[in-house]
């Protein structure tokens, strides 16, 4: 980048003598570091130190109150993976749920948002207002909306009433959708999809708008059916966007647990427990039990998963380009 600028300005204007009061004679590297210093300082405290102490804690047992940690080496990791009769099955179950979320949410998000974006792109009137409406679930993501969902999903809530009035009473859930172990996780997955569709639709829409309209015309003149235009013309151009959407979805499935905490706390009976929530519970819901180290270890296992994901992503991007 900077070499380009030098080429553009062979005269190097900055060689001219200066007459300002500011410390112009600072070496350039010092100026650069002065600009990044606040960010680096904040990160040194809130990032490096905490990451370091968290990593150390994952090799210890501690309940947050006693003055000293008990070092246990890699025992926390082994406990989680197989050694502990309570933690290991819990981890496997939560991991299974996380995996389901990780697969279902990106797939459904793409399946809904791509046709939605194509339809939205094909109309002129109302496009702007529909786009604004579609975007609401994203900007409001959080506890308030999750409570609204809880309200409509109650046993006597709006969704059950709606199903009964449509003659689909057999689909209604007398214990509420979140109270039934069989429907709780699928329900949460659908709400996650509902929150993820806005950004995905937006990205697809911006991708579609970047496609040369002549391409569609040419395809139409050639007599291609809309289905074929979608498959042969649009889809290949949207593949990088799809990759980004899937990556974001997978990342959120691995990291995110807020909806599970707010809506079910992992219930009923652990049927919606996920890995992030498990780490959270081990850290904050266990009172005096010595589970902080195990929680850290689980956090680091999630971190390892995220790094793996990042590497995969870099690889994928390279192939796409």
């Amino acid at each position: 980048m900077s070499s380009l600028a030098v080429k553009d300005h062979p005269g190097r204007l900055d060689k001219r003598p200066s007459r300002t009061r500011s410390p112009r004679h600072w070496p350039g590297w010092l100026t650069g570091w002065a600009f990044v210093l606040p960010a680096v300082a904040l990160f040194a405290v809130m990032g490096v130190y905490t990451i370091g102490s968290g990593l150390a804690l994952s090799f210890a047992k501690w309940n947050g109150f006693t003055p000293t940690w008990t070092w246990v080496g890699v025992q926390n990791y082994l406990d989680l993976l197989y050694a502990d009769p309570v933690l290991a099955p819990e981890l496997r179950r939560a991991g299974g749920h996380t995996l389901q979320v990780m697969i279902a949410v990106p797939l459904l998000t793409v399946a809904i948002s791509l046709p939605l974006a194509v339809a939205l792109n094909s109309i002129r009137r109302l496009r702007a207002i529909l786009r604004s409406i579609y975007f609401l679930p994203y900007v409001t993501t959080g506890i308030a909306v999750y409570f609204a969902w809880r309200y409509v999903l109650e046993p006597d809530g709006a969704i059950n009433t709606l199903l009964r009035s449509l003659g689909l009473g057999t689909l209604a859930q007398p214990q509420g959708f979140l109270g039934n172990p069989d429907t709780a996780l699928p329900t949460l997955i659908l709400i996650l999809v509902w929150s993820a569709v806005p950004v995905a639709t937006l990205l697809y829409l911006s991708g579609l708008q970047a496609i040369d309209p002549n391409l569609f015309e040419a395809a139409q003149i050639d007599g291609a059916a809309p289905r074929h235009v979608l498959r042969r013309v649009i889809w290949p151009l949207l593949r990088p966007i799809t990759a980004a959407i899937v990556l974001l979805g997978v990342r959120d499935a691995l990291h995110g647990f807020q909806i599970f905490l707010v809506m079910t706390r992992g219930g009923p009976g652990g049927h919606t427990d996920v890995l992030g929530l498990m780490a959270y519970r081990l850290a904050f819901f266990k009172g005096l039990a010595q589970t902080l180290g195990v929680s850290s270890a689980l956090g680091w296992m999630l971190f390892a998963g995220a790094v793996l994901l990042a590497l995969l992503n870099a690889r994928m991007l390279r192939r796409v380009r």
């Binding site: 300002t20 350039g28 009433t161 995220a306």
Partner: protein
């Protein structure tokens, strides 16, 4: 021809259906917020008589105004912190040359892949030692740090897109680096700054997880905690819960409608970048 018209009708129907799905919980939120306590148990979408009683009562109960101010304070401090700290850093990444530039930039951006939960517990432990746990500053510091990857990405792109001639000209006039930054780059990259501000403000306003484990003093509650305290008390009175939810969601919706352009461009820019 009829085929095409039919296709058009189908796609309009699908678009409207999904608009309805997008709005669904908000419609019920609004309906619930205007219902009385007895009405909320009956079901039915439209409240029989529109009254602001529930909203007013909820606002008055539990010091919602204090929570509102606390949320506003935390959000404003976070946005300000993010803009100051990362505009400086991004300027250095985009236009200055110094050893370690590439590595540092790569470092900040790759933080995107560190799960929040990995940092959560150590942050709480550290803040306890520092004595800031449970204060608003204790929330703002990790919030600011947490936005680093996306913000640095967005702002570095924005500053990098400003023609270098502008900087060279200012330097020729004898402007210091700080001066060039403040009077050339900051005004020119205004859309990116607004985008960063809204993309920071909205999640901060809605933040619940870290806030929940840090703040224990009710006088420091933010809106999400106030909302939660409504539902954790005995049987939830959903009309009040929906009223409180509406209070949280409305400012965000207004902000979004006003600044939609920046939202959209910021998001697309950040993810594609």
């Amino acid at each position: 021809m009829t085929g095409r018209r039919a296709a058009r009708a189908v796609s309009f129907a699908a678009l409207f259906l999904y608009a309805l799905i997008s709005l669904y919980p908000f419609l019920w939120m609004a309906s619930g917020a205007f219902k009385s306590r007895s009405e909320i148990l009956e079901g039915g979408f439209l409240p029989r008589s529109f009254s602001f009683d529930t909203l007013v009562q909820t606002w008055g109960r539990l010091h919602f105004f204090d929570y509102f101010l606390n949320s506003l304070k935390v959000t404003a401090m976070t946005v300000l912190g993010v803009l100051v700290v990362y505009s400086l850093a991004s300027y250095a990444f985009a236009v200055l040359d110094f050893p370690g530039r590439r590595i540092l930039f790569w470092f900040f951006v790759s933080l995107l892949f560190v799960p929040g939960i990995t940092m959560l517990l150590p942050v709480v432990i550290l803040e306890k030692q520092l004595g800031v746990l449970g204060t608003h500053i204790g929330l703002v510091l990790p919030f600011v740090n947490g936005t680093a990857p996306l913000t640095v990405l967005l702002l570095t792109n924005a500053y990098g897109a400003i023609p270098r001639e502008m900087r060279e000209a200012a330097r020729a006039d004898g402007a210091s680096e700080l001066r060039i930054f403040a009077s050339v780059y900051l005004p020119l990259a205004k859309p990116a700054h607004v985008a960063v501000a809204v993309l920071t403000a909205v999640p901060t306003w809605n933040e619940y997880v870290l806030t929940r484990v840090s703040i224990s003093d009710p006088s420091r509650y933010t809106l999400p905690l106030g909302l939660e305290s409504l539902i954790s008390s005995e049987v939830p009175r959903y009309n009040e819960v929906m009223a409180a939810s509406l209070i949280i969601v409305l400012p965000v919706i207004v902000l979004f409608l006003l600044l939609q352009r920046y939202f959209v461009n910021g998001l697309v820019g950040a993810i594609k970048g």
